[in-house]
């Protein structure tokens, strides 16, 4: 019984059954983790940061993506650039994690020096025949979509990000993310596979029992329900929500605010879904009482009652509201370790203490992320158990997980696994 026989990923992909969670090995194995990194985090577009991370020329921001690291910077002409954080001499990291202000990029090892355009300007002792032009910093394919930075680390980025770009350019414009600022940021490491983190985010079946803070403003029934098994009271409430949702969507669309769901979920490389969601209760924002946290609204927004422009990708989820935005990305660190980085954005001129209270702004998602981390961990622990076998998704509340699993298998196949 050679261990290597079990190293083939393809039979695991074969074993996936429609409507069910994935075979255990796809969540737990080291070789699958490495394949996932290669396929989903190097060969697909991923969300990594924001234009407002580097507001001024000379601002540089290092974004760690597992073993990869990239530099997001704004050059002297005010243009965004993204480079691999790897010196072309002997591979040394050029910049440390976090933000810095620079005029050139100087490698601390042997002082190889690059312009903000990435060109190699200076490489001492390399001889007169050395051709510096071949040793510019390696650029990274990127797109700023309404101020959100998406990158693709491979040489051949999928072209179907165009749908995301087309859709979101218009929807994000009023929030003017480029002129927002990061009011707060958290990082947590979930002890579970990244696909469990995403599955957790793709359903709200678990919300009512696990997210009391979020459920003040978030309507879990938007994510589906089984009408036949609900008791009369719950069914009435669900139907009322649905009617409200239809009405609001019609109103918003009529007022020129695109709201209907747009999605690209299967048979595609770039996975996304957006929709303007109704905010419950006071209806303004994802805060403890559903009222706005920031008096100064985002971008050119003049109303607080335009709901929550929700956007998903395979490594991110975002909520854009009248007064603030919450944007989250994930990076797999191991088969059972996933970094979750969340940023809260407000208008760049909003002042803490005057325009917004930080605790009110952040407490709902800080609580929610913590609760989800526990769920993901206990989910991963159970899947590691030899007794685990793939279980059935609810056709009413977990359809997006089925889509995600289908897309996952397809993309692995499309990339040679």
């Amino acid at each position: 019984m050679l261990k290597t026989f079990s190293s083939a990923i393809s039979p695991l992909l074969d074993r996936r059954s429609q409507g069910h969670s994935l075979p255990a090995g796809l969540y737990t194995r080291q070789d699958v983790f490495e394949a996932d990194l290669d396929v989903f985090f190097h060969k697909h577009w991923i969300y990594v940061g924001l234009e407002c991370d580097v507001p001024e020329p000379g601002d540089a921001h290092v974004i760690d993506l597992g073993s990869a690291s990239i530099i997001l910077l704004r050059d002297d002409d005010g243009r965004i650039r993204v480079f691999h954080n790897v010196c072309r001499h002997r591979g040394t990291r050029l910049l440390d994690s976090g933000s810095s202000i620079i005029s050139k990029l100087v490698c601390p090892y042997h002082q190889w020096t690059y312009e903000l355009s990435g060109e190699l300007a200076y490489a001492p002792h390399m001889g007169t025949s050395f051709d510096k032009t071949c040793r510019s910093l390696k650029p990274v394919h990127f797109k700023s979509i309404g101020g959100l930075i998406y990158v693709c680390l491979s040489e051949a980025p999928p072209e179907d990000i165009d749908a995301l770009e087309r859709t979101m350019k218009e929807r994000l414009a009023p929030y003017d993310l480029a002129n927002s600022k990061v009011a707060f940021q958290t990082e947590i490491i979930e002890t579970g596979n990244w696909k469990l983190t995403i599955e957790n985010n793709r359903e709200c079946y678990h919300c009512s029992s696990n997210h009391p803070e979020l459920c003040v403003s978030f309507i879990d029934l938007d994510f589906g329900f089984d009408p036949e098994t609900l008791n009369p009271e719950d069914r009435e409430e669900a139907e009322k929500h649905q009617a409200l949702y239809d009405e609001r969507t019609r109103q918003w669309e009529a007022q020129g605010h695109p709201s209907a769901a747009v999605e690209q979920l299967v048979d595609c490389a770039t996975n996304f879904r957006t929709q303007r969601l109704v905010i419950a209760g006071a209806g303004e924002s994802q805060t403890p009482d559903a009222t706005a946290a920031s008096a100064k609204l985002m971008g050119t927004m003049t109303r607080k009652d335009l709901g929550d422009t929700h956007l998903w990708g395979h490594n991110c989820w975002h909520h854009f509201m009248g007064d603030h935005a919450v944007t989250t990305l994930i990076i797999p660190l191991g088969p059972d370790r996933t970094l979750v980085r969340t940023k809260w954005l407000v208008h760049k001129d909003a002042v803490e203490g005057r325009d917004y209270d930080l605790d009110k702004l952040t407490s709902v998602w800080i609580a929610t992320n913590g609760q989800d981390a526990q769920l993901v961990a206990r989910s991963h622990a159970g899947i590691l158990d030899p007794a685990y076998e793939p279980g059935p998704y609810s056709p009413f509340t977990e359809g997006q997980l089925d889509n995600f699993a289908t897309w996952y298998i397809d993309r692995m196949r499309a990339n040679g696994y």
Copy 2:
């Protein structure tokens, strides 16, 4: 030189030489560790806990077995049940480690709810065509042998546990373990392979130099000696011990207390050995002065001088004495990490401070376990050294290690390695 060539376990098994310790790789390699888990901890019976861990209906006790986790519970009818601690929906752990009191088993993720019989009672939003009867909790094969819980995690448990059951049912009856209680519990993680932990337990060749506390009550010469190389004084003592042992065994058996050794060590799936051992010195118990630690005796015992009913398995060792019992199980956590969980049992009505002193009860095995952990660690460290080669077992004092190694190789072969 492909690394994968070295991943075949079979040549390592071939290399084992009778009368010698195992080739290094069988103690140290990750693939062997995984094979060991599969063969010895999933396909064989292992000891995992006690009836008295769940004395009342509704008591549940989670037992972690490496990446597996099982729930031992007592149902509403007072019957013991054992289930995999894995929700049938998406695999989430149902209960946390340790003990709890429950009326139903409710998964915290999406509220799937199971009866204490394991039946799925409630699964919201799964639709009217969903068949709950296929989604009961997976039961675990178990046997309560005189109050000791043995489980087999596979579908086809070895049948030859019958010999253990037949033998121990009678021998354990007077201790009435079901009506005992856990007075104390320890867990230590030894930094060595589980087979070294077992080898360490299978001989007392190391006792005289390493276990001063245990040697007050334990007679290492019971485990064999080389008569020809002992000096006259030591030989006389050894022979005296042997005579005493023969005499006591005869007396005990004549009084109706089964005492002679019964063993099933090779050519079998279920590995065990039991024997009533003579306690040295005051002769009552494994305590610092060999007198009983608990004034209230176990079960229906009326005498303190019935020695130590010793029982071994491939993942456990137990000592049942007039006043208390010590029961230890091991679970491999990695090639070089082994959990050792020890429980001290007394009569369920014994009261700490009145009937027994906790320190007197526990100090001998707390010290012994600590000493053994150090020996196992330095043994594992040496076996990791490229200079290690299998060494000879003493034919007088290490015969049980040879039996264990032979059984280990045979069972690996019998399971396809």
Copy 3:
């Protein structure tokens, strides 16, 4: 896509391009790390310690070399002996790390007892037919070269260590290392591959920007420069240094002090280079002001102006100066973890506080090692990045890295990879 396909090391070796750093996998992969241990740390000579670690009969000193451990001891006749620290019974480590004074080597597990000659003297309970002569401690091939202990853990040590021995015996004689003492020792673990630690040590291209303390006494231009790209001022200084260096070497050689470079770098098993280097500034020693740290000179030295006898191997670097010596060895602990052990030697009769100030003695290399550890770590991090590709070595300042990489590939090939 079987993972095992990527486990072949040979294609990685093929991919190495002359004049460039190695392909990433050779620095980062687990299987390459294991091959490196086998080839470079078991089948080649490595420097491990000093005669003065065991000055008196009965002195024993355990040297941990990753998973291997050896005992350096001085027997009753005052001879050096080196044994594997592995009991021949069941593999237990005989001695703990560090130094001890012993009359016999007694295994703590079962009291097997060895003479300082390695002979097994006592093995209880092994029976009368047991042949002790087959169970002596396994000796390790070693050489004391001027008091430096080199070992080879394999059975067939490369013979070309003779060149190192011939060369250094004469050069080291005046320092009389056997009669020195270890005044201080540090251990740090660099979070990078061992070959990056060695590469870092093989060039001083990085010194001027990173080692302000070392550059007081160390002349980085000795390690090469590109005359055509230096500005006139720097070029003049470089040429002045070169002239000074030539003059000093001539003088020293004329006075009977061998100084010219001797090297065995490629087409050989044993990799070394030695040269008497000029010390800058005050010219005496690698201290903060380049004056001697110890008033009592090493061995039979009578002058402080004989420069720095520098010696390299593939796991060590040494500096022997008039007043003290600094000797460093490295041991790989993982693909990205390398132990760096540094000892500062002074005359055995030198007294701290009277003859030397410990801080003055040690501060330059403590600072330098810390700076290098940071450079190695950020180099390793960059090489782990999928964007890394091998970069060009400077033909003027990094020629020794090219030699080292060439030797590395050749030796891997010579050992079957």
